[in-house]
Every structure is written in C-alpha cells, then in structure tokens.
Amino acid sequence: MTMDLTDRRLLREPADPAPRRVANRELQLLALSWLAPVGILLIWEAASRAGLITAQVLPAPSSVARTAWNLISSGELPKHLGASLLRAVAGFAIGGTIGFILGVLVGFSRVAEALLDRSIQMIRAIPSLALLPLVIVWFGVDESGKIFLVSLAVLFPIYINTVLSIRQVDPKLLELARVTGLSRLETVRRIILPGAMPSILTGVRYSLATAWLAPVIAETIATTRGIGFLAMDAREFLQTNVIILTILIYAAIGVGPTVLPGIWNAVCWPGIQITRKGAANECA
C-alpha cells in the first residue's frame, strides 16, 4: 500500500534464494489444479462420442460449446451474462459497503453491537426464497428487487468477517499502540485495520461468490434477462444443452472471486503474507 512495485521487488530478491525455481513450482501446481476439471471434460467428451451417454441426458461438451457459440453470435448469451454480472456487481457494491460499515460499527462499539447485532442476525436467518414474495410486493419485478436480494446475501459474510477481524486484533499490538501514544484514529489506521485485513478479505472473497450466485434466485422473479432466466427458460423447453451451459458458466465464474483477494493481498499488503500465514492462506 505504501510502496511502489520496484521497491518491493528489490526487497524480495535477497530474501528469496531461488525465485525462478519457486515460480516454476507455482506454475506446476497451477497446472495440476486444472488437471481434474480438464480431465473430466475430456472423459465426458470421449464417453459421449462412444455413445455411452445419451445426448438427451447429458450432451457432449463439444455440443454444448456449439450451443454456446450460437448463443454468443446471436447476442443472447452476452445479454444474459451482462444482466447477471451487473446485478452481481451492483449488489456486491451496495451490500458490501453496508456490511463493512455495520461491521466496523459493531466491531468497535459494544453499544452498536447491543443495538444492531441481534437484528442483523435475525435478518440473516431469513432464507431469500421466503423473502421473495415480499420483495416482489415492495419492488415490483424490476432490477431493484433483484439487486436488493443480492445485496442482502452479500452483506452478512462481509459483516461477520469484519466484526470478527476487528475483535481478534492482537492485544499485544494494542498495548504497543498505548505505549507509543497512538491516537484512537491512528490505532485504527495503523494497527486494527491492517491486522484485520486478511480476515476481511476472506469475507470479500466469500461475498463475491455469493454475489454471483444470489441472482439465481433473484432471477426467478419475472424477468427476461440473466443466466438464471436462461436456465429456467431452457428447462421449460427441455434444452439440455443450454441447461448444461448455464451450469458451466456458474462454475467458471464462481472460481473467479477466489483468486481476486489473493491478488489484492499480494499487491497491497506485502508485509502480511508470510507473518500471518494462516490468515493469508485463507485468502490466497
């Protein structure tokens, strides 16, 4: 956060005896992590071609890919994907911000905890599906209702992780803040927030995945756009290809957020990574 990239590279090199070997190993592990998904696709394709799986039950990946291509060139898929992503991003931004602010309030103040925490926990216990009818009454069937549902789903993981991370800051470092005469604000900025960051990032990662999956339910509200709608529509018409395609899209995009905080962590908080191994690993 405080240094530019060149500085950091200068510092990393002497600490790292064989950076190239480490990088190679990282690459190998990365390749290994893709082995199973790619392998399954290949076996699936082979089994379909050999006639072991009926196309009606489970179409071959190549056939799904053709469907995808058709939907992309017709502009259908980009339209639905765009609509879903927009809802996810808007919901994440709104729910994440509110969750973070509530988390900071409750994390720092016992009064705020007494005032807010029980209500938040109770709202958390309500399943989205149960809220759905009310959301339709409140918001009608336009975008805002869907974004509301996504925001709600995103809010809790961010809230809970923020509260816990603030409460779990090392008391020894808080003592240090006192003996070095840090003001309340400086203590928050220099010690509590950086110390809480790995755990907050865990919440961010989890919420990003939630933000992407929440529209599945939100998109069952009368709509004509979104991946959730595409799946519902395909079910009506028994288009197995499209159903499989939407499932694969959820899987592919769902993996995305898991790498984001890891990257952020590596770029923004280089000091945390090794010294707070447990926490940092959760985010990486």
Binding site: L173, E175, V179, L182, E186, G271, I274, T275
Partner: protein, 231 residues
C-alpha cells in the same frame, strides 16, 4: 513537580490482583541517565511494576511521578508485520522529520539502509534492535525494558547489552531493566534492585564494587545458596 534530573519517582505504590497484594508500599526513584536493573524471583511482581510505570495497568494506591509517555521494550519485539521498518520505528510520527529520525535510529542500532525492509526478513536479534530503535526515537525520559534479551542467544545477548549501554549513555533516559540474569545486571547497570515481598528489598550500586562479590551477594538475596559457577 519532580526535580529536573529525576526520570521517575514512585512512592508507596500498591497493586493487587483480587485479594493478592503483589506490590505493597514500594518506593523507587530513577534519575535521568541512570541504568537500574531489577532482579527478583519469578512471580514477585517485576512485570506488574513495569506495567504500572508504563501506564498500562491501573494502581491501587500510592503515587507515580514520571513522564506520561515512557518508552517500553517488551520481551517480544511487537513489530507490525504489515509496516516497513522505518514506519515501525516512527510509529505515530510518520512525517518527513519522523522518517529522518527513524533512519537515524535504525542506523544507531546497526540496521542502516534497511528502512524499507519488512519485519519478517529480520532475525530475532535484529527485530529486537528495531524495537529498541522504536523506543529511543521518541527520546524518552524513562525507558522500560522487560526482559528484552530473554529470547536471544548468548552471543547476540552480549552484543545487545553493549549496544543498549552505549545508546543509554548517549540519550541519557532513566532506565529500568527487568532481567533474570544476575550477570547481565552486574555487567550493564549502575544500580541493581532486588524485589521481594512487594517492595524493593535491597539496592546495590555497581560502581567500584568487585563484580564477583556483588554477584555472590545478589544470588544469596535471590535465595540461591550454592553458586555452582563460582565453585
């Protein structure tokens, strides 16, 4: 107000945990530039006294007349893992002036040029030296050290003792060093206190005293009868 050359005056200090009285009417004065070592059996209340002086714990009676913000070095370095060394040293005063002071302080503890490095790249002794720089950069009137060398190996410990002696001579804070090591106390301090029964039971000046004789006396004070190393 205290005299200008006094770092801290403690009078009739009391501190208890529940029913257990740990510090019971303790009196103590440390002058500026004076190096005082505090010995005492484990659990006799040395850390309790130091934390009271640091303002970390409340007291149940008596009076502490000293600086509102003494500097403290703990047994662990307590560096912030997410801040480069200069920010650790300058903690709370991270201005241009603060940075210049931090660099000077790092140089004093033998870590010149490592300002931008991270705590995780340091050895235990180096980390403890940064903690020392963080304490000294504040030019404290009173420096409190709670077994700061306890986790270091014997060689590093000897070097640290020499370093701290030199830095104290230059910056002249009053120093209270809690230690378990009688030899360390004899080697480093101007005055050695033995704590027992919640008060200062004995006080020895080291100047002009035969070190071996003093060592024997201190060991007897601490209840170690046969001294294996002298035999």
């Amino acid at each position: 107000m205290s005299a200008p050359d006094v770092a801290v005056t403690v009078s009739n200090l009391r501190r208890r945990y529940g029913e257990r009285v740990v510090i019971d009417g303790l009196d103590l004065t440390i002058r500026k530039g004076e190096f005082v070592a505090l010995l005492g059996e484990s659990g006799c209340g040395k850390t309790t006294l130091l934390r009271a002086l640091a303002g970390l714990d409340p007291v149940d009676g008596g009076h502490i007349d000293g600086p509102t913000q003494p500097a403290v070095v703990f047994q662990e370095h307590r560096l912030l893992p997410w801040a480069p060394l200069w920010r650790n040293v300058a903690l709370g005063m991270e201005t241009a002036v603060g940075r210049a002071k931090a660099e000077a302080a790092l140089q004093e503890v033998g870590l010149a040029g490592r300002e931008e490095d991270w705590p995780r790249n340091l050895s235990g002794g180096q980390a403890q030296r940064v903690a020392l720089a963080r304490a000294l950069v504040r030019e404290p009137r009173l420096l409190l050290l709670d077994e700061p060398f306890a986790a270091l190996d014997a060689l590093t410990r000897i070097k640290m003792q020499a370093l701290i002696r030199e830095l104290v001579a230059r910056h002249r804070p009053g120093v209270l060093l809690v230690t378990h090591d009688v030899d360390e106390a004899v080697a480093i301090a101007d005055r050695i206190l033995v704590m027992r029964g919640g008060e200062i039971a004995a006080s020895y000046l080291t100047d002009g005293i035969n070190a071996t004789a003093l060592r024997g006396k201190l060991l007897r004070e601490l209840g170690v009868e046969s001294d294996s190393r002298a035999a």
